[in-house]
Symmetry: C2
């Protein structure tokens, strides 16, 4: 009997929030493996803000997903068959598997994971790309020094929560910005010095109160008004890391540029963009250090695992843009 | 007979373009010098875009000029009397003398200049703060490498013209953006590889045509739409220097933030603010190198010396914001 592989493919380039009709669902037979290939039965699909960007036409840091192509996504699962000597049937792996039930891979970018150390979904979060993004963005670009104030937006998200915890490990004062009292309470549990609920009112006043010495490092995941409020509060020679801009991804109007950008001049500060893939050569080193922090109880992670299927991918993805997820959003199929 | 000193003082904080009523003119007697002081008869007053910012209330990189205070300005002139052993009557000097006929100084920040080497006004331009700004902004922050493309806005201005010429000395392809055919012709005379007249039409298309490999270093003096157009054309790992934003200084609406700032992320690029005073310790080193380039005919300078008086300062200043000056704007009194 032929095994069928259900896939979510991009049907149309969305305007604003992706609609159900921007997707189509296709069943195709799992192909015969060639030499060097392995077949992965995908059990966990990573849902990330960056996916919205991959759906757009135009030059970016990675080519857009083509119309009719299986949607690009990180994922994790189990090797179902292998003609690649580096992988054995039954091994657990993470990689770029796409939104589908089965992925055929030549092994490139596929890494083995250890579910005795951490649950599979964590390798899509703190021990995966979001964790790497936090690690390299904060440490290599932000270069926080002990005693400095680090502010992170999207602080309860997959990247933000790790940024804040690493900043604490490095001896900084850490202020997280998140939406809602629950998320803010979670940040305090993680050891953040302060948590600001941007939905609760005057963000600028709150930043002023919580950052009496100004902001030395600002890690931005959201853009828009929050970036502007942070710019208004940066310290001399502050470093701003532009990691994402989730508030702007579904805009149907032009992106809101930061009106307060001249604060960079006043404060001799810098704003630098980052893409995690640039640091691929050092993923191993970072993963080892992060695993050490997790084992030592210094770095905690939370995943929001939504049970579903390939067909529930579209609505699950939207939870990200509505701020409904709490921790790293993963679709378990 | 008491010598009188006519001064332009700030009467009110301007909204938008400074009006004549934002100034007042005061005559006061030149005071007796105390030990350690010198008296400078000011002959040249430097008019700089940054002056507009000094007129505003609020935290910036330097304290605002107070209401009723003599307007802050760079200047040059001759020592009229001295009780400071480091300065002799008759010596020519440049410093922060304010918009007035006579300045009393303790000698701090006053430097002697050599008018056999260059005319006095040049020590307010290429051999003064604008030259230092160009030197440190381009070399220390922009770090251009031979073969890279450097774009500068406000390219026919005091800072921009020096930026472009230093970039040529460093072996870069240099593209200047300026307003009007005359200014663009001047840039070609200075050796710029290309000059774009932003008033002539499609700036984005022109940048695309003139920067086939993208922009590696963008030195921004103007902000607004021009900054956005440059952001849309930056190369991987581009460096943007935020030196000023003359297009925004007289806004009565909020500053236009750069809508294309996410190009920093896509291109792993950085945008960094600079203030020349931070480099004061190295002015001597830079001035020496710049003088060498001038002597070797590699660095040309042009000043727009407007003859007038303290009373014509207000309208002369406005020439900057209307783009009417051609080269470093200096008021000779």
């Amino acid at each position: 009997m032929t095994t069928m592989n259900r896939q979510a493919r991009l049907a149309a380039r969305p305007t604003g929030m992706p609609k159900h009709s921007d997707w189509k669902f296709v069943d195709e037979p799992v192909p015969e493996l060639k030499d060097g290939e392995l077949l992965v039965k995908v059990t966990h699909i990573s849902l990330d803000p960056a996916m919205r960007g991959w759906m757009n036409e135009g030059k970016s840091y990675i080519r857009p997903v083509a119309i009719d192509e299986v949607m690009r996504a990180g994922g994790a699962g189990r090797v179902a068959a292998s003609k690649n000597p580096a992988f054995k049937e039954g091994e657990e792996v993470a990689g770029n598997f796409g939104v589908q039930q089965y992925a055929v891979s030549d092994g490139k970018g596929v890494r083995k994971v250890d579910t005795k150390f951490a649950p599979l979904e964590r390798y899509l979060g703190a021990l995966g790309m979001p964790g790497m993004t936090a690690y390299f963005g904060l440490l290599d670009i932000g270069k926080p020094k002990a005693g400095e104030t680090v502010v992170v937006s999207g602080a309860a998200g997959a990247v933000g929560a790790v940024v804040g915890q690493i900043a604490k490990i490095k001896g900084c004062r850490v202020v997280g910005i998140a939406g809602g009292a629950d998320k803010c309470a979670y940040l305090k549990e993680l050891g953040f010095d302060a948590a600001i609920d941007y939905k609760a009112g005057d963000l600028k006043a709150a930043l002023k109160a919580e950052c009496p010495d100004g902001i030395h490092v600002y890690f931005d995941n959201v853009g828009g008004e929050i970036l502007d409020a942070a710019l208004a509060r940066i310290a001399l020679r502050a470093r701003i890391i532009i990691c994402g801009a989730i508030s702007q991804y579904n805009n149907t109007t032009p992106v809101k540029g930061p009106s307060n950008y001249l604060s960079l001049l006043v404060n001799r500060a810098s704003m630098t963009g980052m893409v995690v893939f640039d640091h691929a050569e050092r993923y191993g080193e970072a993963a080892k250090e992060m695993a050490g922090w997790i084992a030592a109880g210094k770095l905690h992670a939370r995943e929001d695992v939504v049970k579903g299927s390939i067909d529930t991918f579209p609505e699950t993805l939207l939870r990200l843009f509505k701020g409904e997820n709490f921790g790293k959003l993963v679709l378990a199929i």
